[in-house]
Symmetry: C2
């Protein structure tokens, strides 16, 4: 039996029926808390506070063409976004973006991940190989490359110990700045052939990427970088500093609640020296892996007992006693989550 101080009725509605997103603002004790998707609502108040600085004005006749630049490896990449991406990585120092690296834009990193798989597994152009040997060598290198494909998020979650320099690195606007609705991701790619194949995948999949959103992303990244180059900017106004502080506070509050509860635990992360902040920092990931000390289906348990929807460890190939919880919800949802968690008093094997 599950005992809670909270309304114990399991939700009849689909657990994700309410996204707890920006359109609905009221969160009551009855609301199912959606902490499954990682909707980055936590950053919205920062952008509200920034006022007009990031306001985009798009005329009816702007950015109508499919084409950005046919001379670019990625012909649908807006030059303004390419410039902003290189500037952002140089400012944060989290990835090598030398001029010989290629930038490929995608409709979110979801599409880019599939583009990378396509590029790394598609056959090498036979007409360009004079014998089998270079072909096999290239395939072998490609297979090895799959190991070094990595996804990254930005400075507010991790410590930056050195600029990363992998074959394919992909990033997401959603998790970097919180603008998930714009569906912008980008990859930094060393090998030109791979970049061309990734671009081809995005072309076949969606004939490019929204130019409205590419331009919006360029503008917002520009405002972030301007902040770091403006000597008068207060630390609390700088985006990554603001978010680092915010994530640190949330993690501290969650750890406090979890430590007082014998049923749950969280992973520990070691402190590392961060080149960006110049301090020893603990990482504050966008998702928390909550572990239950008893052998239960934790996702089902949390949903039934306290109407909290996370994502089960099973979906990531690990145990059902783990649940992934988004740390990026809006304040009211995160506050409710911390209020409900301690109300779990006992856990039975019924779950």
């Amino acid at each position: 039996m599950c005992v809670t101080d909270h309304n114990p009725n399991p939700a009849n509605q689909h657990p994700s029926a309410n996204g707890n997103g920006t359109r609905r603002s009221s969160v009551s004790p009855d609301t199912v808390l959606n902490l499954e998707q990682g909707d980055p609502a936590v950053f919205e108040p920062y952008w509200k506070k920034m006022g007009d600085k990031c306001t985009m004005v798009i005329s009816g006749s702007q950015w109508m063409s499919y084409i950005s630049d046919f001379n670019n490896t990625c012909w649908f990449l807006e030059p303004e976004l390419e410039g902003a991406v290189r500037r952002l990585h140089r400012t944060v120092g989290n990835a090598v973006v030398d001029d010989d690296r290629h930038i490929v834009v995608g409709t979110g990193s979801t599409q880019l991940y599939q583009a990378a798989l396509y590029a790394l597994t598609s056959p090498v152009d036979l007409s360009r190989s004079v014998s089998c040997l270079p072909l096999l060598t290239t395939r072998h290198i490609q297979m090895r490359r799959t190991i070094s494909v990595q996804g990254f998020t930005d400075g507010q979650y991790t410590t930056i110990t050195a600029p990363v320099d992998q074959e394919i690195m992909y990033f997401t606007f959603s998790k970097s700045t919180g603008h998930a609705g714009s569906r912008i991701g980008w990859a930094i790619v060393k090998d030109k052939e791979i970049a061309i194949k990734m671009s081809k995948f995005v072309e076949l999949s969606s004939l490019g990427v929204s130019k409205d959103s590419q331009q919006r992303a360029a503008k917002i990244m520009g405002v972030i970088c301007d902040g770091y180059q403006n000597c008068k900017a207060k630390n609390s106004e700088l985006f990554f500093e603001h978010c680092q502080k915010l994530m640190a506070q949330r993690w501290e509050r969650l750890r406090e609640v979890v430590e007082r509860n014998e049923f749950f635990s969280l992973p520990k992360y070691p402190k590392e020296y961060c080149l960006f902040s110049g301090e020893f920092n603990e990482p504050h990931p966008a998702f928390a892996w909550l572990k239950c000390e008893e052998d239960i289906d934790l996702e089902k348990f949390l949903r039934g007992c306290i109407k909290v929807q996370g994502r089960s460890g099973r979906k990531f190939g690990t145990d059902q006693k783990y649940v992934r919880i988004s740390m990026l919800s809006k304040d009211e949802v995160f506050d409710q989550f911390l209020e409900r968690l301690p109300t779990v008093k006992a856990i039975s094997n019924g779950y």
Copy 2:
């Protein structure tokens, strides 16, 4: 041998190196004319003339969430776009959009076409079938449905003889209004299960569709519909009337040039009564199928002789003596095309 009045040097550059799009404005006799992709630059002057009516202002904190409405069949469809799509089809009368029809948004119709294939070929949920019979029946119906999947463009190209009412109908913002860079397409779907599967495909492919572009599309469609509901609007200011006239003029000019040249011909389209305009109209498609009366590779020939890049009939499963030519280029490019076409004086079998 190919004889032309025009500079006969074949282009050394990639034929599509210049998109002839909105970023580059100068078109010289040396420019390779890209009439391959159907970039709808022809509509740009109309939107320029509309001034501020379609200007979008997006604040830094707007539309940040992944989620539009979890209660909708398509959870990432902005309610504003859904409303605008239904209103547009009711205004134009080209498709049935009764309230029980589902709208699915995609990153262009390219993605929606793949979503429809996925939905129509993915297995039926076995847990919902009590015996094999309904399963087989459903599969059979699904197979038949593939026949009735159709893509449409709007009133400026075709005559509207009745509101179409197919199982899956998909439309593209690119060809409707010319805003190709926004990558917005939508499908009107009768069957809820099919709509859910199509949405699932878009979710897996790109985790939704740019909200910035969905909102921009909603705004622009709204302005078009406002025009038709404003009794004071002049006919020449109404979008579809303006575009119909523009397309009719281009087709007339092209037919004139082709009729004076013994090597080329164009298909004839019968006049039909159009419910939207209330007149007998000839269709004016977005692409012209130019046919050469001699048996040559017409794509190669046009590229080599007059630096015009079309798309060969071979790529559509027909003969190499056909070339598809975009009728949507900007004025300067279309004018150059009509100037160059008559310079072709003789065609040898060398091509």
